[in-house]
Symmetry: C2
Subunit: 159 residues, 2 copies
């Protein structure tokens, strides 16, 4: 796995076995088919994306349409998983758990999205930044009471 | 899997195989060892909990101490995964993706926590509601710019 490490990066030998499994429960359709097309972060584009849930799980959407915002978990299945310290192309060396890079031991991304429309098992949302056909892992209601912290600070970041 | 379904609940036959695997990268230590002791949600207690990261991943914490808040993903490994519609003991029938129940196809919980202190691979945080020794999946910096939506509404909820 230790191919292509940049200077300053640190890789780890991952455990030999997984501890649990996940199902891909749908796909996320976005306008971006190459990584260099993706917006830098989820507020970098107001493009509408589509969450296409597998029909098998359709009944689980009951009540979702009443939410203005959702938490979406998805699997960055093309990302390597062994880097503990990363050197972004434009940026400084940081620990994996201090950044939102898809490269991490469990490449599960979390995005907060605005729900625009639901039609059957297709949800139109704004706020995703991932590649087209990224595997969907979970959809949750976003509760401002527990999920919103407007004054939170990431000290290393300028923004 | 279809044991113990309450009236009104809907279960699904899950796929035969998982699509991807996850590593348990640490454990979450909380004061709660039985489900009925856990707070109803993450703001239901200001108890300090400890994220105990495996030493293997220690280097990935570089920069985390500069964050006031973190996104924590963890695996609710005791939850069943096949319910699409659930009937909470005190509440109404809802689709799984409209609630934050641990019972879901991929029982990965997301909590926003306040970081109190870091000591080596142990992070003291406030804002968790899970059972003691729950497996840790991921730690991410919480960016108010993309993660905070103070006016988000969950229409079915009174609060």
């Amino acid at each position: 796995m230790n191919e292509d490490i940049r200077e300053g990066e640190i890789a780890v030998t991952l455990p030999e076995k997984f501890d649990a499994g996940v199902y891909f429960i749908g796909r996320i359709r976005t306008p971006w088919t190459r990584r260099d097309q993706c917006p830098k972060n989820a507020r970098g584009s107001d493009a509408a994306c589509t969450i296409a849930l597998d029909e098998r799980y359709a009944a689980a959407l009951d009540g979702v349409a009443s939410c203005t915002h959702l938490v979406v978990l998805y699997f960055m299945h093309e990302a390597r998983r062994d880097l503990l310290v990363q050197m972004p192309r434009h940026g400084e060396r940081r620990g994996t758990f201090a950044i939102r890079s898809p490269v991490r031991p469990n490449p599960i991304a979390m995005s907060v999205v605005r729900l625009v429309r639901t039609e059957g098992t297709r949800l139109t949302v704004v706020g995703l930044d991932c590649l087209d056909v990224t595997p969907l892992i979970d959809i949750k209601p976003y509760f401002a009471s527990v999920d919103s912290v407007p004054d939170a600070v990431v000290g290393w970041s300028k923004t």
